[in-house]
Symmetry: C2
Subunit: 413 residues, 2 copies
Amino acid sequence: MATIEYAEYQALNEKTVVDYVMAHEKLAKLFQPGDTVVASEVGDGNLNLVFKIHAEQDPKRTLVVKQALPYVRLVGESWPLPTDRARIEAQALAVEYELCPDHTPEVYHFDPVMYLIAMRNLDEHIILRKGLIDGIVYPHLAEHVGTFMAKTLASTSDLVLAYDEKKEQVGKFINPEMCKITEDLVFTEPYRKTERNAYHEEITPQVRAFQADDALRTEVAKMKEKFMTHAQALIHGDLHTGSIMVNQADTYVIDPEFAFYGPMGFDIGAFFANILLSYASHEVRTEDEATRKQYRDWLKSVIVDTWHVFVREFKATWDQVDQINMPKAYQDDYMLRLLQDAVGLGACKVMRRVIGLAGVEDIRGIEDVEKKSIAASLALNMGRKMLMERETFTTIEQLVETVTACTPSYPWQ
Amino acid sequence: MATIEYAEYQALNEKTVVDYVMAHEKLAKLFQPGDTVVASEVGDGNLNLVFKIHAEQDPKRTLVVKQALPYVRLVGESWPLPTDRARIEAQALAVEYELCPDHTPEVYHFDPVMYLIAMRNLDEHIILRKGLIDGIVYPHLAEHVGTFMAKTLASTSDLVLAYDEKKEQVGKFINPEMCKITEDLVFTEPYRKTERNAYHEEITPQVRAFQADDALRTEVAKMKEKFMTHAQALIHGDLHTGSIMVNQADTYVIDPEFAFYGPMGFDIGAFFANILLSYASHEVRTEDEATRKQYRDWLKSVIVDTWHVFVREFKATWDQVDQINMPKAYQDDYMLRLLQDAVGLGACKVMRRVIGLAGVEDIRGIEDVEKKSIAASLALNMGRKMLMERETFTTIEQLVETVTACTPSYPWQ
């Protein structure tokens, strides 16, 4: 069997990806002699081709091949992107798998010329966002996500890593183009009039008010500064509910192509933000009041429980290192600052998902315009409150109660 | 003329350094045919050989050659150091010279194998620390240092640099071993019992009290965290009064071998800290009360004026870039946070210079033990007050008045 070595990048298709797999021994051995191996392209993200490949004889003999495209899929070839993000993603998956194999898909192979990652096919799992839209409860979600964040963030920070290894890792994960997307789409464009913003027309008065609110924009600028300067840990960088695969038993975090050394609160806040976007959407998605309350109570408990699991696992990891020069008060202060960072950065994630280019299906998928406006307005008010009052929150319970007490401004008075 | 190319690193001496210079055309041309070129090693730092080289026929035909030693000179070969810091220094000098040529010595040549920098000889200048010890007033000091800091810090930050250039620069200035020295000597060892601390015996009670003070140690830990995670700008990293060359007309900042992307407040605070150490030393160095008051008033004015020059030049640099998404309130908040960072990080620089391995001649050079203890105790109290109250300071005048109102605890009650 000859290994195919591509001398330069080319995008694969459903046929050539099978040839590629069968020509690489490490991947081919996932199949049996005589297997008919087929591929289908299933990418629904913006940046990549994703092929699911399986044997027709037994769909359990399977893998996923993810290949970086050289442009943003959502926008087209006019927005070029360096394919180097596949290297970042492969490196990040390797770090995450080492630190938290229970919640990271195993990587089988990385091709630095083809910007291609071959990895475990999580085909018994669905994207968490879809499950939340359908009102499904995942009993282990908080435990799993809290553990994943604690292990990956604490262990890649100065709290645990040796001084030289940390700095070397910072260099390996410099990721300018992907950071730029976040800087623009999360922290800049929602607060200006720009062509790429994609909110629905009915919500315009509230968006305009936000864009004219200098107090709000000042706090957003501080969050952007934190994102750009705070090299605290190797963060996933895009930890929303579309980057999490779940079923009733397991949870996997995928797609760390935005990974870099940034503020831990950006990951924690991204997860909280997307649970809160789901919370806002169920204001109108679920008609029956009892069902709505029950599901939203579970969503609230996910945020509270995730934080407590995170703190427990984070401190456990931290406490394994030399503590001699870190009084207990420092650790308490550190955790409080993490909470407030998560609230402020998460707030920006909530607002950008309503105003900016990349919305969330939870809200943008609501067909009825009135209902969509209620959910969008509620989310904006939640985000604003989180951002402006972030330094007043000292417990996660206080955050959740305050934020979920927000009401929509729509219909306009 | 044959260029000498060394295949591997070797430390030069007063003879071989002249051979080296005369074998490199760019350096040799600083001299005239027939010149007798001589060298003397004058390094009084801890990490390098420094040769002053001149023509006996005319001392104005001159240069300096600085060569990194592979160990810490003060401690000896038991503390090895990567010579890569010479690359960092040459790169940093190049950036600083581009941004602020009036206050940066010109580099003529960098040799990456020999870890050698050939640069302008500032032989009409003296080390600022020596001038301060002797009670000399430098009328342009605040204007020059404030300008240097503003131009180098603003222009290397996200406020001015393009997103990708900033991140590339972060990677080029990753400097783990030099940062480790600061992490240990400034932020860790002074607050533990360690063999390398080098305070004089009489001051032991106050040092022990600091080392037992968990509230103080908690704040120090936060400053250490800021130093390790806040990739805000290309900082000099060692901007004390021993890194500044002066005369009545000019000011040059030298020795940026500790440069990396860190918090701007570490540079600003280092300068303020060393002016305050001089202030503390003149409590006992100058007998005559009127003279003492006059000189110390000038030292106070240096801090106040430097900050105001810094703010003026920093905002001027910042204002040249796109401001559309940065309300004025963000800029004001940014400058206030810079001030408070400078106070907190500078506080740690004050205290380490009394307790830690590397003291300052201003205080350690005082022969009379009683007098030295008064100055040291005063400096410690100033440092402690700055650190613990840093978030209460909103103007530089308030800082200077508060800190200079401190009194020594020695003699002990």
